[in-house]
């Protein structure tokens, strides 16, 4: 089985290295094909490992080689395939493989086709390191690796100012959060003497409670950055500047869930600090609602889906914070399927609409793009949690978990958010695919994407529909590893009321969205209508003015401070010193070049001058030695 582990891990690396050989060359179709095949190899290996673990096999643990071995610190390049990592591996490789295939079509006309695959495969490799590592150090390497690849892919079209800006924003925000994570890791190492998961988790129970709280908080700060939780959430929406397959793979299905993975992986730690757990759950719930509210009014197709991702990440954190780790992991998996599908569908629409993102300028695309319409609608149903699609099983279990644990506020907010989710998802679908045709006035002739792109989406489509039946086997698989329990509501009546109530609420929201946006008199908003001038619309449309706040109160003062230091300190002190030294040397040379006249007589005179100086020096040293006692007593009298 070990060989499958190595194949799953290193096939993406090989793919990345291979593709990077051609980055400076014009488009080569075989690069995309080979990269896709290698990722597919990785996927097949992951599936084999998955069935092995699902069948009750022992977790596979390998140590590739020693990385750091010094003093008391021993960190190997060790990898583990257990119930948690195999789930992540399955999700990551499946979505990666499909996105690789899809990208062959999506990036078809891009001059940097080869470079795209180099970055994308490098991302897959980093993500695999992240989820397969058996210690926190390896996880951190993967963590930084995905951060780097995310930077490279958001800023893929580096000639666009907005893209580089968004890439830097994402990178910097993640670095801020990573500092928290590093502190958490240092605390862990300081207190347990190891970073290996098994060693650390066997020792956490012995630690001080307050230490554990700090560790929990700092690790979660790292997770907040990667998973874009409030207040570090702004980068995710801006990250939509990257190519759409990147958004599907990195900023919906895999990388942003790394924070959730970290919390799930550290479950023995978080089990001991329920206070932090409640904080995580509350923050998650808040973000779920907060992001969903911003998605209600947004007019950028990709941003709406990004906010929905943010909102679903909030759900996952809510579940993980409440100790329902398996539910969080299950929702992570289900979400990866339908969200990637939604993004790839959005990619098709973008292609058809020549990169137009405003859904108000689309409408009536369902005739032209039948399959994209069907897939996105089903993905939206799954996202909204309609029976019997994937979202129903995962999201409903989160609600049940909150209800059973008597966190009624969390339950209420999440339930309300579910209604919002249904509304904004179908607002988007209705605006894009239904209603009157608004794109013709912009001179756009939409067409369906290549067939193989649709085929690449088909497995996601399939899983978005049937992921629900995987719930029971999944539960049995992770039961032991995550200390999972089922959430049963005692009274049958309450259970059915909740179930049906949620469904009715969600379906009502869907109908409302359709009624409001599936009309033939929708026009492109121009900022004059009554709705658009309402205060709450403005607040939501401007994302609660948070980006504005960051820009105005953090970025600008920082920039001014930097400018001040630059002009006052850097230029006047540091630069002046360095320039001064250079100037002294230069001037000395300029002044003394007269000595090199070539006249022997003059040179001899300078030789004599040197001799005299040396004689004076020798004399001074001789005198100092001769009278050293007196000099010393004189100096001590002065108090030196």
């Amino acid at each position: 089985m070990e060989k499958y582990l190595y194949i799953a891990l290193f096939a993406p690396l090989v793919s990345s290295l291979f593709s990077s050989l051609f980055t400076a060359k014009p488009k080569k179709q075989f690069v995309g094909v080979i990269a896709s095949l290698l990722i597919a190899t990785s996927f097949v290996s992951s599936v084999i490992l998955g069935f092995y673990i699902l069948g009750g096999g022992e977790a596979i643990h390998v140590e590739l080689m020693t990385w750091i071995n010094t003093g008391g610190l021993y960190i190997p390049f060790g990898f583990v395939v257990d119930e948690i990592s195999v789930t992540m591996m399955f999700v990551v490789t499946l979505v990666s493989m499909l996105v690789h295939i899809y990208s062959n079509g999506y990036m078809d006309h891009d001059p940097s086709f080869n470079r795209f695959f180099a970055w994308l495969s490098a991302f897959v490799f980093s993500m695999m390191v992240l989820v397969m590592s058996d210690n926190f150090a390896g996880l951190f390497i993967g963590w930084e690796g995905v951060g780097l690849c995310s930077w490279g892919l958001i800023g893929f079209w580096y000639y666009k100012e907005s893209a580089t800006w968004a890439a830097n924003e994402a990178f910097i925000m993640n670095r801020i959060a990573d500092l928290g994570m590093l502190i958490g890791l240092f605390l862990l190492y300081w207190n347990t003497g190891s970073l290996q998961y098994d060693v650390v988790f066997s020792k956490v129970a012995l630690l001080d409670h307050s230490t554990l709280i700090w560790i929990g908080i700092f690790l979660f700060i790292g997770a907040m950055g990667k998973s874009a939780q409030f207040p570090l959430h702004t980068w995710l929406a801006d990250a939509m500047e990257g190519p759409t397959p990147v958004s599907a793979l990195i900023h919906a299905a895999t990388m942003v869930t790394a924070g959730v993975y970290l919390v799930i992986r550290s479950n023995p730690l978080y089990d001991l600090v329920p206070e932090v757990g409640i904080f995580i759950a509350s923050l998650g719930t808040f973000v779920a609602f907060f992001a969903a509210s911003m998605a209600l009014v947004n007019r950028d197709m990709k941003r709406i889906i990004a906010y929905s991702t943010l909102s679903q990440l909030g759900y996952m954190f809510a579940a993980a914070g409440l100790g329902a780790y398996w539910v969080a992991l299950f929702h992570l998996m289900a979400h990866a399927f339908f969200k990637a599908l939604l993004f790839l569908g959005a990619g098709n629409v973008m292609h058809a609409m020549h990169d137009e993102l405003d859904p108000f300028k689309m409408g009536a695309l369902k005739e032209k793009m039948k399959w994209t319409w069907i897939m996105m609608t089903v993905a939206s149903f799954a996202l909204a949690g309609v029976f019997p699609l994937a979202g129903f099983f995962s999201k409903d279990t989160i609600l049940e978990a909150a209800f059973v644990d008597h966190h009624y506020v969390i339950y209420g907010v999440l339930l309300f958010t579910a209604a919002l989710t249904a509304f904004y998802s179908f607002r988007l679908v209705a605006l894009i695919f239904h209603g009157n045709d608004r794109y013709s006035q912009f001179g756009i002739h939409p067409h369906e994407a290549y067939n193989y792109m649709l085929w690449a989406m088909a497995p996601l489509f399939f899983f978005a529909i049937i992921a629900g039946i995987m719930q029971t086997p999944f539960f049995e698989m992770v039961e032991e590893a995550l200390n999972a329990r089922e959430y049963h509501i005692h009274s049958e009546a309450v259970k059915w009321i909740m179930l049906i109530g949620t469904q009715v609420l969600v379906i009502a929201s869907i109908f409302y969205a359709y009624r409001k946006y599936n009309r033939n008199d929708i026009t492109v908003p121009d900022g004059t209508s009554k709705t658009e001038n309402r205060l709450c619309y403005k607040v939501l449309f401007n994302q609660y003015y948070i980006p504005y706040f960051y820009e105005e109160y953090l970025v600008k003062p920082y920039r001014e401070l930097s400018g001040l230091f630059w002009k006052k300190f850097d230029l006047r002190v540091v630069d002046a010193t360095v320039d001064g030294i250079a100037k002294i040397l230069y001037n000395t040379g300029e002044e003394t070049r007269g000595m090199q006249s070539g006249n022997l007589s003059v040179m001899l005179r300078w030789m004599v001058v040197g001799l005299v100086i040396l004689l004076i020096f020798a004399g001074a040293v001789g005198l100092a030695v001769r009278y050293s006692d007196k000099i010393l007593s004189f100096l001590s009298a002065l108090g030196v």
């Binding site: 090199q596 006249s597 070539g598 006249n599």
Partner: protein, 101 residues
Amino acid sequence: MEIGLSHYLILSTILFGIGLYGVMSRKNLLMLFFATEILLNSVNIGFAAISHYLGDLTGQMFAFFVIAIAASEVAVGLGLLVVWFKRHNRIDLDEMMSMRG
């Protein structure tokens, strides 16, 4: 008055000073050689005097070395000088500027 070590050293210093002055001020290459001879011999006086004073023959041996090397140096130097004179008809130091930087 007894002639002691310090007299020899003073003589040596005076001769060194004369030689140094000659080296700096003379423009004729031949005179320059004379001045260097004075410099070398002033040092020889110092060597011999201190050698005698300390009862150690090393200093006198060094003086002989210096004399021998000075002789060969002058031989080579005069040879070059003669060649230069044949070519340029002058031996003025200020004219030898080929090493000007």
